[in-house]
Symmetry: C2
Subunit: 339 residues, 2 copies
DNA sequence: TTATTCTGCTAAAAGGTTTTACCTAAATTA
DNA sequence: TAATTTAGGTAAAACCTTTTAGCAGAATAA
């Protein structure tokens, strides 16, 4: 019913004081502004009594800050991104910030549009998994003094803070692990895009092969631009046309899921006939029989660093080019010893 | 650098017209307000030229609407909630709304605090998975004319819109399925809380037993209030102390994951020794060997209905007590025929 | 005593919109 | 011709804060 919110003005009138006085008291500047303790008490009591809360919108307008951070990821329903969302949420709320999310679908046009609408929404900061071709927009954002932190991948030619992981090193280690297990014909399944993290993973894979006699076969799937069935078919096709493969590296977990599906269909014995390794660990990999080796990204640290950089930029206007690269953890599992 | 945003006033001055005129044109009321086409064109050209976008904050203040919906779920990193988040996002953005998320952790105090801060943020609508003891707050929200839609579970004594699924019926069907497969000793593993959806699932399970000779054993785990290890231990303990069980119903997928873990540890053969059924389907259930039967909630429909109800309330101030109950799909799988 | 400082408080502007109420000159109607 | 309507616009209030600049009176200093 009574949608009418009480404002500072109402309080001032009810108490017969000025708006200014109430505002000072509300903002803890009573002492500083020489409001008597008596008056302060009176106003505070009244505010508590009627349960007044200031309008954040009016504050935003006046102060030019919305206390909102936008979290733009490829797909919020992806386990990895959802987990990060969960973790940054806590820190944001603790510091008085709210988080708006959106999924870019790795679509540059869509992402640009989203950024443009967020700008007019006066959001204070952007946490972004950049799509290809976003250089200009991000540069503009920085010029206009927005707080920006990239993650998961970064943009080579833009001097912007980011938090990523050691993609190349971890991929190399995991590949070497396959080689040590005796694999001679290695497959690499990745998404067909120029995202830096995927490139780095492939570089790591290739580097591990140097100086060994292992052979390799690579499949790039346009995972998000084609239908899931089609992606699935491509992967199945890859494995049927490469029966020699005795080890596979999946550059991300959803590819591994599809790959697993395909290999089971083909009747391959894991790990006897073919060994698997995947980037992005998942509860599932530990539960599958046999459990599957995977590279675990340090999501707590990623989230922590993301919000640290973001808050630093927001509160102190700190330098914008903090580059953080975190180590991953290789969870060895396919030893068939379940624990 | 140039953080100074151009405002309607700047445009008015530059063109030597009044603010009102510009505003009318911006809001497509030029004709209605009898602004000449010539003037309209001039202003529109200028606006396009300088790329002006109105300040949403100022609009919010003036109109009392923020065009923000808050999505309050138990845990945004949970696959089910994250998937819904992804789907409602699209519809929200299409209608000019943004979505703020937060995780309640099923903690009533925390939830109340969150709602309170959102109110002063002037959010327009609330989509909530209600925690126990939230009756008052939700009722208040409705009284104050906020748009509210509950989902996943509802609050018995409050007349508020919601979108839920046929928990009881589906649980009953799944249990009957176990019985038809020949299970005589059924376990039911659920979370220890009074959430309506969990109660309904248990009711369905129990109802399926009526008139049969099957026996049952029930475990309630305080999943979120105790550590994950401890929950895991409880479940392991349950299965070791109930070796007679030849069928289990898990009331949600993360319990099934833990249960699976425990059963594998105990060396149980699935499905020969014990058959499994879980609420909330998951990619994983189809991939596991043998694949596991599960009840799939219609997340697209849930999301669709959620946003429909929400937008109806927001745009037309429609009646608030729309109760939608959607059917689930029982995905039969443990037949060991992999497809 | 006069000049200065301090105490306690307030008026008003600014932030960017939307919208109501109104104005003037030209055109139409009676 | 006189009265009314229409065309084309505008001034100003309202939404709710924060903050600057300042005011009157009391206390202190010179």
């Amino acid at each position: 019913m009574a949608k009418k919110k009480t404002s500072i003005k109402d309080i001032a009138e009810a108490l017969g004081v000025s708006i200014t006085t109430v505002s000072f008291i509300l903002n803890g500047k009573a002492r500083e502004k020489r409001i008597s303790d008596e008056m302060t008490g009176k106003v505070q009591d009244y505010i508590k009594k009627i349960g007044y809360k200031p309008s954040h919108i009016a504050q935003s307008l006046r102060l030019g800050k919305s206390k909102i951070i936008v979290f733009m990821v490829e797909d919020i329903s992806n386990q990895f991104f959802a987990s990060i969302a969960r973790l940054i949420e806590e820190k944001a709320y603790k510091n008085g910030y709210k988080i708006i999310y959106c999924s870019t679908e790795n679509d540059t046009i869509k992402t640009k549009e989203l950024i443009s609408t967020f700008k007019m929404r006066n959001v204070d900061g952007f946490i972004i998994t950049p799509t290809p071709g976003l250089e200009h927009v991000v540069r503009k954002l920085l010029e206009e003094d927005f707080a920006v932190v990239l993650f998961d991948r970064w943009i080579p030619d833009v001097d912007c803070s980011y938090v990523v992981v050691e993609n190349k090193l971890s991929a190399k280690e995991a590949t070497q692990h396959l080689i040590h297990q005796g694999c001679k014909n290695l497959g690499f399944v990745t998404v067909d895009s120029s995202q830096t993290q995927m490139n780095d993973r492939m570089d790591g894979f290739l580097e591990a092969l140097i100086g060994t006699e292992a052979k390799s076969a690579i499949l790039k799937v346009k995972f998000h631009t084609i239908s899931e069935q089609e992606a699935s078919r491509k992967i199945l096709e890859f494995f049927s046309s490469h029966p020699e493969l005795d080890g596979v590296f999946f550059s991300t977990n959803y590819l591994a899921f599809e790959g697993l599906h395909a290999l089971i269909k083909l009747g391959k014995k894991i790990p006897e006939q073919i060994r698997l390794v995947s980037f992005d660990d998942h509860y599932f990999f530990n539960l599958f029989q046999p459990p599957i080796t995977a590279i675990e990204q340090p999501i707590e640290e990623i989230a922590e660093n993301l919000m640290d950089l973001m808050l630093k930029q927001l509160e102190h206007g700190e330098v914008q080019n903090n580059k953080i690269i975190l180590p991953n953890k290789l969870n060895l599992r396919e030893s068939s010893v379940y624990k």
